[in-house]
């Protein structure tokens, strides 16, 4: 029961999903749609596990007065505030204009946008560190990145040539490389799916 049944569930549900791809008939479509909804519902229940884990880790930091435990208090306050504001008035709690949404727009959104904007700095520092002409490979990386970036720099008549070269790189060799990677990923992922369905890859199930 503990080991075999899960393996059987994986096998049956996996094989069913493969078969239903080939069968347009509505009876299979219905089962498929239910199965997808069940997966979503499982995910929703699992949210409680997430909340439990986050709360437990934060609370234990506060209890043990671990370094930086004050910040865990902040996390707990943020979490509790949002949960309370988002539930107490029923589904009207998350309408525009509520305190819940004010917090979303004035605290959540700016922090998120700023985290995202950090990438402008990091892309520069990564370029500085990585693009050195050490080997043939890193030289290719360096040169193509430069060609593409130079398309925004006025170079007089050279701009025309650079423009053509940049769009050629983006549409031709870039496409070839992407296809090779895509096909590789396709083979790797499909093989992994089969290994899962046939129970060969089962590390994700853990052990007793």
């Amino acid at each position: 029961m503990r080991r075999q049944l899960p393996i059987l569930i994986v096998f049956v549900s996996g094989v069913f999903m493969i078969i239903q791809y080939f069968i347009p008939h509505e009876s299979f479509e219905f089962i498929y749609e239910y199965a997808m909804d069940w997966i979503i519902i499982i995910g929703i229940f699992a949210m409680l596990l997430g909340l439990w884990s986050l709360t437990r880790v934060s609370v234990s930091k506060v209890q043990t007065k671990a370094p930086g435990w004050g910040f865990s208090v902040m996390t707990l306050i943020g979490l509790a505030t949002m949960l309370f504001l988002g539930i107490y008035k029923g589904n009207k709690s998350i309408a525009e204009g509520t305190l819940f949404m004010d917090i979303f727009w004035n605290i959540y959104t700016p922090i998120q946008a700023t985290m995202f904007a950090l990438l402008a700095f990091y892309i520069a520092s990564a370029a500085y560190r990585a693009f050195r002409a050490r080997t043939v490979m890193s030289t290719i990386l360096l040169v193509t990145a430069l060609v593409i970036m130079l398309r925004l720099i006025p170079l007089g008549p050279l701009s025309g040539i650079n423009q053509t070269l940049a769009s050629w790189i983006l549409t031709v060799p870039n496409m070839a490389a992407k296809r090779a990677i895509w096909i590789g990923i396709g083979l790797g992922a499909t093989a992994t799916c089969l290994k899962i369905i046939f129970g060969i890859e089962r590390a994700y199930m853990g052990k007793d």
């Binding site: 899960p6 569930i9 549900s13 996996g14 094989v15 999903m17 493969i18 997808m36 909804d37 069940w38 997966i39 979503i40 519902i41 499982i42 929703i44 229940f45 699992a46 596990l49 997430g50 986050l54 910040f71 902040m74 996390t75 943020g78 979490l79 509790a80 949960l83 988002g86 589904n91 709690s93 917090i103 004035n106 605290i107 959540y108 959104t109 700016p110 922090i111 700023t114 950090l118 402008a120 892309i123 990386l141 193509t144 430069l146 593409i148 970036m149 925004l152 050629w168 870039n174 496409m175 070839a176 296809r179 090779a180 990677i181 096909i183 396709g186 499909t190 799916c193 369905i197 994700y204």
Partner: protein, 205 residues
């Protein structure tokens, strides 16, 4: 209220940017607040936008087969009780098995068939040199790129040469994508600077 909102947003923006100099209490404050608020926001919105319409409403409408999903959901929660925690594996098995089957055909078609289909192009296009060269580069590039991904053969000799060509073309593509992305990342920063200098400080309009 709006002014307070702008000030809060601006200070939090600075708090995150301060991380660039080094880790500091200001950043830690923003970070821990962000984690708590985002987790709460995510839970609440999923509850109202997914849980209610997907499960509660369907059960109320008497669609009993949604009960099956709910049962598997409850099994998942049994993880919290070590003695019967192993029951959560059934739900896990359903999730993993279903998606493995789903993705199998999806990857086979979109990453396999379609890519091969798109790469079956004529190597010689009459009277069009640039397209002939382009097609040649695409076919040879894809071919040698795949050689690089061979695991069970040593990269030696002609085979190794092709594999090397393959990784070079991959690097070409990586360099190009990297260079291409710089612009959109800078736009993100410009947007934040507009907020700080314009909306907050009113230096520009």
């Amino acid at each position: 209220m709006e002014t307070i909102g702008i000030w809060i947003a601006a200070l939090l923006t600075l708090g995150i940017f301060s991380f660039l100099y080094k880790d500091n209490p200001f950043y830690k404050f923003c970070e821990s607040l962000f984690v708590g608020i985002s987790a709460g926001y995510w839970f609440v919105t999923t509850f109202w936008q997914v849980f209610m319409p997907k499960l509660a409403d369907n059960l109320v409408a008497g669609r009993f087969y949604y009960m099956i999903g709910a049962i598997f959901g409850v099994l998942m929660l049994l993880r919290l009780f070590p003695k019967i925690g192993w029951l959560s594996r059934w739900s896990l098995a359903l999730v993993v098995g279903t998606t493995a089957g789903l993705y199998f055909t999806r990857y086979l078609v979109s990453n396999g068939m379609v890519q091969v289909q798109n790469t079956i192009i004529p190597l010689y296009v009459k009277g069009n040199l640039s397209q002939t060269i382009g097609n040649l580069v695409i076919v040879i590039g894809t071919f040698s790129g795949l050689i690089y991904f061979f695991f069970s053969k040593e990269h030696k000799g002609a085979f190794g040469g092709l594999a090397k060509l393959g990784i070079w073309i991959l690097m070409l593509s990586f360099g190009a994508s990297f260079g291409y992305t710089v612009m959109s990342r800078m736009s993100l920063l410009i947007g934040r600077m507009d907020y700080l200098l314009g909306t907050w400080l009113g230096l520009i309009h």
